[in-house]
C-alpha cells in the first residue's frame, strides 16, 4: 500500500514537473514572439520617421532658401527671437520661386514614393509661424494695396518689441508718434532708408492700450507700427518692397528648446497595410 502511494506520488510529481516545463516553454516562446513583433514595429517606425524627417528637412531647406524669411534666435540670460523679411503689398509678388521649388520637390517625391501624400498645395503665404514654447504667433495678411504683419503673444512674458523698418528706395519724410500710453514694456522702432535717414523712437508703453509710430514716406504712403491689446502690427501701403525686422526680446529661458514651427500639416507619410500615419509639419529653427 505504501509502495503504491509512493508510485502514485512519483507519477504525479513527474507529471507536474513536465507540465511546468511545458508551460515555461510556451511562455518563453510567446515572449520571444512578442519581442520580435515589437522589434518589427520599432524598425517600421524608424523607417517612417526617417522618410518623414528627410521630406521635412527638404521642405525646411526650400523654405529657408526661397521664402526670404531670416530667423535668428539669440540666447543669453534671456532669449531674443527676430524675424526679418522683405514685405510687398502685392500678395502674388511674394514667394514665386518658393512655390516653384516646393512643387518640383513634391512632384519628384510622388514619382519616388507612393506612401507620401501632400495635403496642401503649397506653403501658405499668410503663414502663421509659431514661436515655441512661448506660444507667440507671427503671421501676414494682405488686402488690396496693403500688407500687414502681426505678432500675437499669448501672454506678455518678455521685455519688449524692437522693430526695424528699412524702406530702401522709398524715402522717409517723417516719423511721428500719434499715440503712446506709458508703461513698462519696451517699444523700439527704428526707421532707415537708403538716403541716410536713421530715426529711432524708443518708449516704455502699456501694451494693452493703443501705441503707434508712423513712418511717413515721400509721396504719402506709410508704414504704421502699432502695439495694441498686447499685439504688434506692422502695416504698409508702400508700393516698393520694404524690409521689416521684428525682434521679440527678453523672453525667459525655459526648459524646452526654442523652436519656430510652421504648424500646418504639409504632408502625410502613410503605410495603409500597417495602419501607420505620420503627419508632417515643418520646424524652421
Amino acid at each position: 500500500m505504501v509502495k503504491m502511494k509512493k508510485g502514485y506520488l512519483l507519477t504525479l510529481g513527474t507529471f507536474m514537473v513536465l507540465i511546468i516545463v511545458f508551460s515555461l516553454a510556451i511562455s518563453l516562446n510567446r515572449s520571444v514572439e512578442m519581442s520580435k513583433d515589437r522589434l518589427g514595429i520599432i524598425g517600421i517606425s524608424d523607417r517612417v520617421f526617417d522618410l518623414s524627417s528627410s521630406v521635412e528637412n527638404g521642405l525646411e531647406d526650400i523654405i529657408k532658401i526661397y521664402s526670404g524669411l531670416d530667423i535668428a534666435i539669440e540666447k543669453n540670460n534671456k532669449i531674443n527671437v527676430s524675424i526679418t523679411e522683405d514685405i510687398s503689398r502685392v500678395k502674388d509678388d511674394w514667394g514665386i520661386s518658393l512655390d516653384e521649388k516646393i512643387t518640383e520637390f513634391k512632384n519628384f517625391i510622388s514619382t519616388q514614393d507612393k506612401n507620401i501624400e501632400f495635403v496642401t498645395v503649397s506653403f501658405d503665404k499668410e503663414l502663421p509661424l509659431e514661436i515655441m514654447p512661448y506660444n507667440i504667433t507671427y503671421s501676414r495678411s494682405w488686402a488690396t494695396g496693403q500688407v500687414t504683419l502681426k505678432v500675437i503673444p499669448k501672454t506678455i512674458n518678455f521685455d519688449g518689441f524692437e522693430i526695424l523698418i528699412n524702406t530702401n528706395q522709398e524715402r522717409i519724410s517723417q516719423v511721428n508718434v500719434p499715440s503712446l500710453n506709458p508703461g513698462s514694456f519696451k517699444f523700439i522702432v527704428k526707421a532707415v532708408d537708403n538716403f541716410g535717414t536713421n530715426i529711432v523712437k524708443e518708449n516704455n508703453i502699456d501694451p494693452e492700450k493703443t501705441n503707434q509710430v508712423h513712418v511717413n514716406l515721400v509721396g504719402g504712403n506709410q508704414v504704421k507700427v502699432t502695439v495694441k491689446d498686447n499685439e504688434l502690427e506692422v502695416w504698409t501701403n508702400s508700393p516698393e518692397t520694404i524690409t521689416s525686422s521684428i525682434k521679440i526680446f527678453g523672453l525667459p529661458s525655459l526648459d524646452n528648446e526654442v523652436a519656430i514651427v510652421y504648424p500646418k500639416i504639409f504632408y502625410n507619410v502613410t503605410f495603409p497595410a500597417l495602419k501607420i500615419v505620420k503627419l508632417g509639419d515643418i520646424q524652421l529653427m
Binding site: 507519477t11 513527474t14 507529471f15 513536465l18 507540465i19 516545463v21 511545458f22 515555461l24 516553454a25 510556451i26 518563453l28 516562446n29 520571444v32 514572439e33 519581442s35 520580435k36 522589434l39 520599432i42 524598425g43 524608424d46 523607417r47 526617417d50 522618410l51 528627410s54 521630406v55 528637412n57 527638404g58 531647406d61 526650400i62 532658401i65 521649388k101 518640383e104 520637390f105 519628384f108 517625391i109 514619382t111 519616388q112 514614393d113
Partner: protein, 150 residues
Amino acid sequence: MKKRSWNLVYGNKGFAFILDSALAVLLVILLLTASNIYIFKNTKDVSSNPQLSKTGSDIVTLLDNTKELDTLNKNSIEASMSDLIPENYGYRFNISWQKSGEQEIKSLEIGDIIPEDRFVATGKKFFLVTNNDETNITDYGSTKYSIWLK
C-alpha cells in the same frame, strides 16, 4: 501450462506495468519534445535588426550632411562608403535624382548584390542638392539603401 495473458485477476501485473510505463515514457518524451521545439524555435537573435536599419540610416544622413551625396558621383560616393561602413557589412544604394526645372530622372546604383538568405534592412531618404553657397537648389534626390551583415 502457461496462463493466458488476459486472464486478469491478480495476474499479468508485469504486462500492465510495462504498458503503463511505456505510456508514461511516451508522454514524457512528447512533452519534452514539445517544450524543446517551443524553446529552440525562436533562438535566432533578431535584436540586431533595428540596429542594422539605424546604421544604414546614419550612413545616408552622414553622406547627406557632408554633401557627399550632392556630388551624385558613383566613384566619389563609393570611396566615402568604403571609409564609413565596417567590413562585415554589405550594402547597396540606389540613388535617383532630378534636376530642378527638368523632367528626366537619373539614377545610379552602388554596392553589392542583395543577398536572399539573411535579413536585409532597407530604407529611403530624400535629399536636396544645393550650389556651393547654398542659395539655390539644383537637384532633388532620393537614396534607397539596403544594408546587411555579411
